[in-house]
């Protein structure tokens, strides 16, 4: 008997018993759905985290000198150690910048959440950045209208502000904000630029911020004088970034007079580092996934085995007929194994469709861009076939061992 005939027989049987077949393949279906959906979401997250999260929040080929790493979880003890570290000061930043041989651009950075007021309207909780002019390039911020601040304005710490898209909407409601004067911490700032819309990250707006010159009056609120939260450094490319990182580390250690045996008492935050938290989460998901999938596949396999045992009992006469007509043991064996495998593969196929559907639903309903991984589809199908075959072996061997006379007389 050829495989095609066996598959044909199996499909006929499944077609005539749609509901029963559907229930029997539910376990495999759920297992494979899990597999596809979780892998798709994790893969999508990976792409998203690398493209969006890391590059938006840190910047391409960019790193920051910080007192302690950002985007990370650490032990209580670790936090206490980090809190005792000195803050980054101007002298250190200047030293790093002056020694740097790799082409790079630099910006000091502090931020504080403050209200912005214009004409009686208040935008609350605006992330006000105090930064140097290169920050717009480092963060790849595009202007909707107006301009960024000039080196002169930055140098003098003038009270000018470039506002995020959402602040423009909120305060000016479509009117031209250019030249208007908004109040920050009681002082008037002249709006010189409006930034283009960036959208959201995990549903959080990326447009609810404003940028003022580092030395403008707000600085007093955002940072202690002489210090900064972060010193941003951007190289032109990946190799440049590696070189700049090494140079920066060296310069900082020299400036802070660290002995060779001493650890760095500062952190160099890269996009890579920012992804660490996510990598931990995805590792946990990817470890838990095989367990989830295998549990549902084992359950699915047992269900299919039971269904096949019932099928063998119900179809004893059929088996007798087939044997009388010349079916050998291996023909009967093949028939039931193939039927079981077909059933499970069908479950896997529906599971793949459901999984992909779920992934697309996640993509359209949440900011996460789920991406279906071809290998997970392949794995889903192979698992379906394998579970079906394994679950089918025992019932099939029982069927193949039936005595034709007894089988024909059953009912």
């Amino acid at each position: 008997m050829m495989l095609r005939d066996a598959v044909g027989m199996a499909l006929t049987t499944i077609r005539t018993q749609k509901l029963k077949s559907f229930f029997s393949l539910l376990g495999v279906l759920i297992g494979v759905t899990f597999l596809i959906a979780v892998v798709s979401i994790v893969q999508g997250m990976n792409v998203y985290m690398e493209d969006q999260f890391a590059n938006k929040l840190v910047g391409l080929n960019t790193f920051q000198i910080r007192r302690m790493p950002n985007f990370t979880d650490a032990s209580e003890e670790q936090w206490r150690e980090w809190s005792r570290r000195p803050r980054i000061n101007y002298v250190e930043a200047d030293f790093v910048e002056s020694r740097m041989e790799t082409p790079a651009i630099f910006s000091r950075f502090c931020s504080e959440r403050l209200p912005l007021v214009w004409n009686g309207t208040t935008a609350k909780d605006v992330d006000v950045w105090t930064a140097d002019a290169p920050m717009f390039r480092i963060k790849n911020l595009d202007l909707e209208s107006g301009r960024v601040f000039t080196p002169q304005e930055a140098e003098l710490g003038q009270a000018v502000v470039v506002i995020g898209w959402e602040i423009g909407e909120k305060l000016f409601k479509g009117a031209d904000p250019m030249g208007k004067s908004v109040t920050i911490e009681g002082l008037p700032y002249r709006v010189i630029g409006l930034l283009a819309k960036q959208g959201t990250l995990f549903g959080i707006s990326l447009d609810k911020f404003a940028v003022v010159p580092f030395d403008s009056p707000v600085h007093r609120v955002a940072c202690r004088y002489g210090f900064m939260d972060e010193f941003h450094i951007q190289a032109g490319n990946v190799e440049g970034m590696q070189a700049a990182l090494a140079e920066t580390q060296e310069a900082m250690r020299i400036q802070r007079r660290l002995k060779p045996a001493q650890d760095d008492n500062f952190a160099l935050q890269t996009a890579e580092g920012a992804l660490e938290g996510w990598k931990k989460i995805s590792a946990v998901l990817m470890t838990a996934l095989p367990m989830l999938v295998s549990v549902s596949l084992v359950v699915g396999g047992i269900v299919i085995m039971n269904i096949m045992l019932m099928a063998v009992a119900e179809r004893t006469v059929e088996i007798g007929i087939r044997k009388a007509l010349g079916a050998k043991r291996r023909d009967i064996m093949a028939q039931f194994v193939v039927e079981s495998a077909t059933l499970a593969t069908l479950g896997a196929a529906i599971g793949i469709a459901t999984g992909i559907g779920l992934a697309f639903a996640v993509r359209s309903l949440t900011p996460l861009p789920a991406a279906v991984a071809p290998w997970s589809v392949l794995l889903g199908v192979s698992l379906g076939v394998a579970v079906g075959m394994i679950a089918g072996i025992y019932p099939a061997s029982r069927a193949s061992r039936l005595d034709p006379i007894t089988a024909l007389r059953a009912e």
């Binding site: 008997m1 007509l325 023909d331 034709p404 006379i405 024909l408």
Partner: protein
Amino acid sequence: MSDLVIQIRDLVRTYEMGVETVHALRGVSLEIRRNEYVAIMGPSGSGKSTLMNLIGCLDTPSSGEYWLNGQEVSRMPDDALARVRNREIGFVFQTFNLLPRASALANVELPLVYAGTGARQRRERAEAALTRVGLGNRMDHRPNELSGGQRQRVAIARALVNEPAILLADEPTGNLDSTTSEEIMRVFQTLHDQGQTIIMVTHEADIAAHAGRVVVLRDGRIASDTRQREAAA
């Protein structure tokens, strides 16, 4: 010798039923020539079902010899017997034993599936067999869409499709009314006229009367073996 399809010598079949030994066949010898039409009769418990199972290669004897179409089949292992059933024997059962979910055509194709015949040839031969029993226009019907007589004719087409050495019918009219029974007997007669060897187990004397030879079993032995004049078609 080549004219003998079946050669049975001292066939004995005993069953162990717990501590008791049941002697179903106590030494049966029988020879059947090509194109014979034989009815096997006997009351229940006479061993006629056992003999039929042995002739049909569904069972093997406790002792004795059984030559079918020149092969000694009484000592064959399971899979070899399956092959013999597939090539040499066409079964027709009292309860038709068609696969309920398959069309008439698919039912008739089944022996060819196990013979490993290719799909196209399978279809052609199954269609020819169905046409031969007068069901050329019912090929796509399922058994439950056919009358009893039509079902039995599908079963006959299935039995014939591999051109077996013997057509082995077990109470072929047991589930049919008398008109339909006559119809099936006419099909058998036609096949016999075309040269088919037919062995039919029955307990109905008027059905047995269609056969050219009647073997009567009693208590596991042949009680009588009579050749009668060919029944009128």
